[in-house]
Symmetry: D2
């Protein structure tokens, strides 16, 4: 463990006196649960930040005690997010020290620099950027163009997709350092669509053709995000290797190996053909996964794989017809539709989600809940908003 990360000492100094949770037991609240967890959000002025505020403001076990954004000095939140003006919150430059957890919604590379100090103080880190998603430090220069400054943390960080890593997230309750690398929006919909096939060694060949609303690209006023360019149009982008490929390939392999399969069991999970498309809509991701299976499979067997995987999951719903992204808007739901095409012999699996909720803020809160021993659905029970 690096010099910058010696949590036990830090915890001794800071934990007891601050009235915060004893760091070695995040999940047990000494006062019987009455105290709310104190959380902060860094990167509060973007779309993911606003969604974290929207959801955490209504979380029964949370107090938002700080919002931070670059060069902000107690600026009213309404100046960035008019729909949140009624919260009366402000955005400053830094978070208070005495917080239980921090959510980070920052450009790649920024969190890697901030996290070690905070994590060492025992603050649970839920990072919504890519800095703690990849296990192999070599993937950072390859996919993101920067050397990871703290590769030792990549071994500790947990990939925050609860449906695939719930036990590891739970283990953070007792860990002195808790770092969650919350998944990207595309990987969430794609991995949940594919995980049952990966575990069964069924992915012979794979094409992931994905569609996203513009909020996935953030809030920056880029010319290509101008309404005049986006509306009434679709186009592919990220041709030749969108960064989310790295997560998708990593986690398909992890998922297969978690049930004892070797990498060759899912040949289609290597060198994934992933092509994202920009949709003329604000929210929503649809991941259309075209799979040529490694062996023949019946429709019943396919359905059984998915129901077994997801029937006990609170947020993943296996549906019987092709889902629309609209039916997830504002909620933490993922709709998964597996289909065996008898004519072509292929398996089609479609995943639909709200990229800002299950694809970002909601998922992060779901992991946060697990890391703190809270009910996994706390603060995430609102239904989708449609039409």
């Amino acid at each position: 463990m690096s010099a910058g990360l010696e949590p036990p000492a830090v915890i001794e100094a800071d934990g007891p006196s601050s009235g915060l949770l004893p760091r070695s037991r995040r999940g047990v609240q000494p006062d019987g649960g009455a105290r709310k967890l104190r959380v902060g959000i860094i990167g509060a002025t973007g779309y993911v930040g606003s969604e974290l505020i929207r959801l955490l403001s209504r979380h029964p076990n949370v107090d938002i005690v700080g919002l931070a954004g670059r060069d902000r000095h107690d600026d009213p939140i309404g100046g960035f997010h008019p729909h949140l003006a009624s919260t009366g919150m402000t955005v400053g430059t830094e978070l208070p020290d005495d917080i239980d957890a921090a959510f980070l919604a920052l450009p790649h590379g920024a969190a890697a620099a901030l996290v070690p100090e905070m994590a060492a103080r025992g603050v649970a880190i839920i990072d919504l950027g890519p800095d703690f998603r990849l296990r192999d430090a070599a993937d950072y220069p390859r996919w993101y163009g920067f050397q990871h400054p703290h590769p030792e943390l990549l071994d500790i960080a947990v990939y925050g997709l609860p449906e695939l890593h719930r036990d590891e997230l739970r283990a953070l309750i007792d860990a002195p350092v808790a770092i969650v690398g919350s998944p990207g929006c595309y990987p969430t919909a794609t991995l949940l669509a594919l995980a049952p096939l990966a575990r069964a060694g069924l992915i012979g060949d794979l094409v992931v053709d994905a569609k996203s609303g513009v909020s996935g690209a953030g809030r920056d006023a880029k010319p290509e995000m101008h309404f005049g360019e986006v509306d009434e149009s679709v186009r592919a982008y990220g041709i030749g290797g969108h960064r989310h490929v790295a997560e998708i390939e990593q986690e398909l392999a992890v998922t297969a190996s978690s049930v004892g399969l070797d990498p060759g069991a899912n040949p289609g999970a290597i060198g994934v053909d992933f092509v994202p498309h920009l949709m003329p809509m604000v929210r929503g991701i649809l991941s259309t996964n075209h799979v040529r299976p490694t062996r023949p499979i019946s429709a019943d067997e396919l359905a059984a794989l998915y129901h077994e995987a997801y029937d006990d999951e609170p947020f993943v719903h296996v549906v019987a017809s092709a889902p629309a992204t609209k039916h997830t808007t504002g909620s933490n739901h993922v709709l998964v539709f597996p289909y065996l095409d008898e004519r072509t012999g292929r398996i089609l699996v479609i995943g639909a989600e709200d990229n800002l909720v299950k694809g970002a803020a909601g998922q992060a809160i779901q992991a946060f809940n697990i890391v703190h021993g809270l009910p996994e659905t706390a603060g995430l029970q609102q239904l989708p908003l449609a039409p």
Copy 2:
């Protein structure tokens, strides 16, 4: 009172044995509040119905015990509203008898036939159609083309805009019969924008130019609601007298008289020029009110009128710049922007809301809360969903 409406007898017969609330005291729950109110929704398959389900499902004091739709026989709700499939609810033909309250989202004329029997049994009625909004029975043939079958109920019914009729709604807690005519979507935004001026006798001349998303027109598959016709286009409709004019004129007069003004005090509130427009969007109403005041007024005086009227209201927010409908989506908020145009001498007041929430389902729940002595914001505290 009509033969069909003799509540005391009904209450004696039905109240005690059913375990429901004593009808003469809706606001006090005998068991100290632990019991949830049993509610049903008639007209559950439309857009307003789905929004009632979405909100009431998360209301802490409510159990939805029945959904009704025409010719439905325990049909899964997901067949009508895929986003609500996870609730596991079904839609039948009728509601159970032992309910505390019924929400009705029906075409005009339909509720007027159903309500007397239900109301007489002590069921609190929250009608989201027009059948109990107008006080003068003659307005029904004029504006809606039907003779109201129970004009005597129009004297009892309360116009369910809490910001204007809170005391009357509260009085229903103890009333044997409780009927709320929940306001239309356009009148809500318009009346909240104009009420402070009406009370001050300032409306000299009035033009209401309103804009609505398509969900305000319901879910029927009409040719003019086809995506190909609506998208990338705006147009006016309802030229020459949209039905909501009746409510707007009635309530502007009521509001003025409630503070002792006579009808001539607001000459612009008579023969209101109201022109609605269809927007290429799903939700949202913007009501742009152009007022020529009866006397000169300063910007400070104008602001004071609005802050005095609304600063204590939980859902009405006076804002300092022109609001976007998007900043209310999914919430019960109304944003009101008053502005004195020094150049023209006019007052501009803009109201923005989500037509399905504060303009329909949310407002109905707000009134329901008052009628049952619940906190007015119960079940309505979610923040807007943006972007």
Copy 3:
């Protein structure tokens, strides 16, 4: 040839006396070209019909002499298509007899019944439905659910994709009977994207993931086309075998065999995995073709294949970055983007078009031009409308 189709006799009787073109030489106008061709449109009240009117109204060599729709009696066109009201046209039940060509935009099965008599009279038929697209009569019951009443015409009809069948279309200039089965919207974008690979025997495995605006589904007021359902959402449909698969597979095979390849040369062109998606937009098709090649190919070789195929085509543009559908709106352009993904070894080819122009009305006019010996671009030279 069926009894209903004896063109020579008809032509003798009808041709000379009518002042129409001598049927055996559509391409030569006896008066030196001054006379405009007389055309009619059957199915004028739908979206394809309106687009035919828009384009043919401005075609320098055409007079629209008749518009027909079911149960129409000289109804002003503005009642169906307000944007065309200024043309002053009307829609009746039938076309005049003395026309040179008829465009048919009808539901499947309808044209097959009408065409034989008209074609026998020498009227050039440009059918925009599926009734004359497929060569194998057995495909009609399989894909469209009806027995083709005139299978003998399938041998005569020409698949109206000029870039693949220009010579056969030209041959109709001198043919007594001219029937063009104008391609479907999806097949046009897909086949133009894939034809160069098919000719090179490069299609080893194929996934076609396509996206369309709603106008491709016609104008009927179906619930799923309501603005409230379509806007802010994407979803797949036609899962398990959209009808356009039949055309795509047929023409990939035809294209390969046209250069002497046998069916096994493009194994991916058999049992094509085609999944269409509905976009929240009115016009535009994007066909994303994921190809695993039969052999390694360099990026230069790939580019050369496409430039060779299309550099002389007036409407197909090979582009260097992923195209947006918006950049074809209102024009007859198809943008084709071939890309070799070195990482995955796959070829990605994206085709973009306006489904109502190159995917329907424009393409039909292009074929009509060829069949009549007119410049192929006549009436089709307008540039796309953006933004």
Copy 4:
């Protein structure tokens, strides 16, 4: 006349030797009309610029000989406007000298500096910005915040709304200096809606509530034009005095005085209450004009006023029901709907147009045609694109 504007001398030097039109007779082409007019566009990279290129490329009497944009060096047009890539044009820093006419699409203040030299050389100027729209130089600091550097040109410039200033535009055929200030998008729809009332002295009180697609605000990547902010939302802007008020008031006065009325005849035309709104769409303006007439008027009289004004106009269509902006898209049409509301006694007049065509590029070409003695509809005959 300023020193910078001595056209006769310039014309002597430049006209004959250049092969350009004799400046004193723009309308007569020495070679009998075979020569096309040479035009350039300054500000070619914005939305108005692209629309000028789209339309002028297909104009039968025009050759586009130069496109200019700031700091451009023969950059391919496709880099700015991918839909125009097939034209093969490039954008440079300057236009060639030997042009007949220049279209300028520039921010306010920029054209005023460029025009004098060009105009003095005899180049016909069609300025699409505000620099030559206002007659009173004092209006520039008031509404646009800059001192007009050449107020003397404001007397010469013609406001390029052909329906109101056709004779003055025609007079430019023989004028040594021709400067057209092409109207703004809102004023076009508004003035055409109101002109018949202004001429009749009927505008007693006026509220203009206008709605525009985002392309009216240009192409700059401003945060408020991000798709995430615009989609699914409407809002007012320019509260308290949008710059287009200046044009509207000026031209209503001019129109009234052109038939001998004095300013008091239309009291509502002074201090106009104009409130624009941003729509979630790309193109289209709807101007909803609420007029309280100075005297009672019958519906027949109202209709007669409009038909008399516009039945001979090629681009203005008086329609019988409320128009949708969509029915003008891509065309130079304006739809005008006058309506007498018997209930309120008001007149409602709605104008609909495509802001980039009749509201900008198309109107500019219409004026250009008149100034050069061409048929007024040349290059502008395409029909609207719908759906």
